[in-house]
Symmetry: C2
Subunit: 308 residues, 2 copies
Amino acid sequence: MSLVVVGTVAFDAIETPFGKTDKIIGGAATYIGLAASNFSNKIQLVSTVGDDFPTPYIESLNKRGIRTDGLQVHKGQKSFFWSGRYHNDMNSRDTLETELNVLADFNPVVPEEDRSADFVMLGNLQPSVQKSVIEQMTKRPKLIAMDTMNFWMDIAMDELKEVIGMVDILIINDEEARQLSGDYSLVSAARKIMALGCPYLIIKKGEHGALLFNNENEVFFAPALPLEEVFDPTGAGDTFAGGFIGFLASTHDISFENMKRAIIYGSALASFCVEKFGTERLESLTQDEIDRRVQEFVNLVQFEISLS
Amino acid sequence: MSLVVVGTVAFDAIETPFGKTDKIIGGAATYIGLAASNFSNKIQLVSTVGDDFPTPYIESLNKRGIRTDGLQVHKGQKSFFWSGRYHNDMNSRDTLETELNVLADFNPVVPEEDRSADFVMLGNLQPSVQKSVIEQMTKRPKLIAMDTMNFWMDIAMDELKEVIGMVDILIINDEEARQLSGDYSLVSAARKIMALGCPYLIIKKGEHGALLFNNENEVFFAPALPLEEVFDPTGAGDTFAGGFIGFLASTHDISFENMKRAIIYGSALASFCVEKFGTERLESLTQDEIDRRVQEFVNLVQFEISLS
C-alpha cells in the first residue's frame, strides 16, 4: 500500500569523534524514505529543496521506488542546512549551524493521486505544517505516524497536542516523552500522551532500545543491538521510523503483533544507519543483510520458559 | 544443588523521594539469599553481624531454607551499617553514612559440609576476602559468580582482576564495566573483561535491563520491566543476582540457554524488590506472583518473525 512521507530533505555537515563530513545529503524524509524503500516501492516524498540540491540524488531515490512529485524544487533558493557535532559518548550533540532556507516557507502539497494513501509518516516539522498534510488527505489513512521534537513543545505545545490527537502513533524519544507529559516514569508518561488521542506510542531510548505502548495497556520492548562502535548516529531515529512504517505498509497489517515485527525491522535498519556517515550505509543495503541483522535481534532476546 | 552465598548482612537506613526508614535489615547476602530461596532450599549464608542483629530475623531466614551456620555473630560488636539518600530520578544516590563495624575484620569461614557446594555467589566484598572463600572450597564448584564495585577498582584493581580470573561469571553494572575495562562500548568492555579469565559476564543497566555475554561471542539481552513507580532501588542488583544463581542452582543446568531463563527470573525478582522499602516485598512473595511477573517479561519481549 502506498506511503506518503513528509519531512525535511537537507544538507548536513557532521562531526563525530571519528571524523567530519563536508555537506552531505540528510534530512528526516530522506532517511525515512530510504529505510521504507527496503519494504515498499510505493512511496511519495513530500518535501522542499533549493536548486542547489543534486538532481542525480533525486533520481537515485526514484530508482528505489520513491516518487518525488511532492518534492518542491525552489529555483534560486537554497536547501535546508544543519551542522552538528557529537560528543564523545555519541549520546548528545551540539547544533553548530541551522539555515532554514527553503524550509522557512515550506507548504507541503500532497500530489493528487496520493491523497488517498493508506499510510502517512509525518517527519519532525512544525505541528501546523504536519496538520496541513493530514487535512489534505481525501480519505482517513489506515495509519498516520508522526515524529516531533522538544523545540515544538517549547514554542507550540497546544498546536502539537492537537496534532497528536489526530494521528495513530507518535514516535518520540524518552526525553521528549518526559517533557511532553511532565512525568519521569515512561509508563505514566505513555498513558498521559495516549490520552491526547493517539492510540499507539513508541518511545525510543537510543542505545537502550524502544518501547511500544497501546491504549489497551499492552507494552512491547525491542532492544537496540549492542554495537561495538557507533560511527554516526545522525538519522538513526528517522531510519527506525521509516523501517517501522515501511514494513507496516508492505504487510498491510497494523495489528499490535505486526507492529512488534515492524519495530524489530526499524531497529535493524537503524543499527545499519549508524555504521557510516549519513545515508551511506543505507544506500548499499541488501535484503540478505537486513534478514541476517533481524536474526541477530531474534537471537538477542528470544528465550524459552515454560510456566506451569 | 547447594548454594553458598557470601556477602554482607547489615542494617540500612534509606531515604527516597517517597519517604525514609529507620534502621532496617539489609546487606547484599540478605537480598541474594532471600531471592535465591524462591528456588532453592539448600542455601548457606556466610557473613558476619554483631549481637545487635535480631535473632528472630535469622530464624526467619532459616525457615526459608537459608542455613546460617556460616553467619558469625560477634558478641559486643555492632553490625555493618549503611545509610543513603536517593535522588529524584532514583538512578543515583548519596551515601550518608557507612559504619563498617564487624565488617572491618570479616574473615569468612565456609562451614565444612558446604565446602563441596556446586554453586557459590560472592557478593560485593574486598577481592582478597572473596578469594579466601574460593580457596576454602574442597572441590571446584560448578559455577562461581561474583559481584564487585568501583571502589575496589580504585584501590585494589590487581587483586580484583586476579579474582575475576578465578570465577565463572562476573555480575556488574554498566559504569563498573566501563571503569574496569576502560572502554565506553559495552561490547568491547565485555570482551576485555572476559579476557581476564571469566567465561561469562552480566552487565546490569538498571532500568535499561541487562546483557549476558559469553566468551564465544553470544549475547542475550533481558529488559527491565517498565515500572510506573520505583519506590526503593536498594538491593535490586543483589536480588537480581540471587534470583539468577538460585534458579541455576535449582535447575542444575549452567548452559547459556538456561542462563537466559535465570536472568529473566532474576529480573522478575528485582522488579518486585523495588516496590517497597528494603526486603519487605521479597519476604511476602509467592510462587504464583513470580510466575505471573515472568509471564509479563515474556509478553514484553516475545515476537514472531519468519525469515526466509
